[in-house]
Symmetry: C2
Amino acid sequence: MSATSAAWLARHLGYVPADAALFERALTHRSAASAHNERLEFLGDAVLNLVVAAELYERFPEADEGALSRLRASLVSGSPLARVALHWQLGEALRLGSGELKTGGFRRESILADALEAVCGALYLDAGLERARPLILQLLAPALEPLVASDALKDAKTRLQEWLQARGAPLPRYTLEQVSGESHEQHFTVRCDTVEPVASAVGEGSSRRRAEQIAAQKVLERVSG
Amino acid sequence: MSATSAAWLARHLGYVPADAALFERALTHRSAASAHNERLEFLGDAVLNLVVAAELYERFPEADEGALSRLRASLVSGSPLARVALHWQLGEALRLGSGELKTGGFRRESILADALEAVCGALYLDAGLERARPLILQLLAPALEPLVASDALKDAKTRLQEWLQARGAPLPRYTLEQVSGESHEQHFTVRCDTVEPVASAVGEGSSRRRAEQIAAQKVLERVSG
């Protein structure tokens, strides 16, 4: 069976493991053998969580903690992970006990999601976080890329800029109109102007960035109707 | 205030950050400024989780997924983290708004635990996981070391070995007595013998290791009364 896990790794990640037995174990359900994947799943859950958290932290610099947590949950909970596992045909490389085989365990969401986590744990042990990270992001791409590309999750300034660029229009201008309050409790007022079409709106917030986002959102609503 | 976070890092971790502003932010509660620590806390929670998961995975090779999860929860939940933060006097380096200052926010468990997580996030961004890991383990040592040292969490083979060594007695001997069942559903029977004092017990399980642990546990109960 080790050919199967090694073949899966080679085919889908182009990865040749230093310790092939680790990946054999990652793809072994507890119903199949005593050397099963539950400890690797424990580790892999944490690896996946960090890789996703760091990626979202970097890709969504304007998102607050609540938005980041919601985005992460939409990626690393059971169903999305199971869909990712199905995408990569992980079920075909899984070792299951005869009972699970008969009842279609290789299609069960929890078994697939757990196995994907275990593979991430094995990648971490085999390669270290820095080398494992791009491989894990590659595995997650079917779930991560649509999320990152979706307009709803881009910040308002980016969406406004892209809307104008798509029309060959000049970029918007942001002007800091007012700063009030004491040094650590400041309040910012920013104006956003576009020239083509002509539009203008004011945003307020506890940081200059947030005030800009709010102004951009208002302008976007006006120009895009 | 940046002197405070830099001084705290230097005093307790001997660490000089590449990006001091990152640590200033990590120690800034949302009540104090708009550049607060909530996004870093989101990231740091995942960093801490992985560092602890990997450490437990390595230190407790016999622990199953359930035991590892319980151990981790006993370390990375709010109260233990707050105690760790208190140990390192993190409250003294915290920046809080005037309201939180008046009501003793620098002693509040959630604020302390969140700030500790944010520091872990900043260490990860500033140094990368491999360099951040020993620093984070150093921070966690007040909670981690007692856990690792506690007899209750060591596996039975280790405890039996230490009990015998403390008495200058020879190490126990494990003999595989029987293996039954088909290749992926095998059942193991192992005997454990000690000579000083003379004791013997048999353990059974789905792996040789587990059978040895059970036999060791029985012998330990007999010899240590």
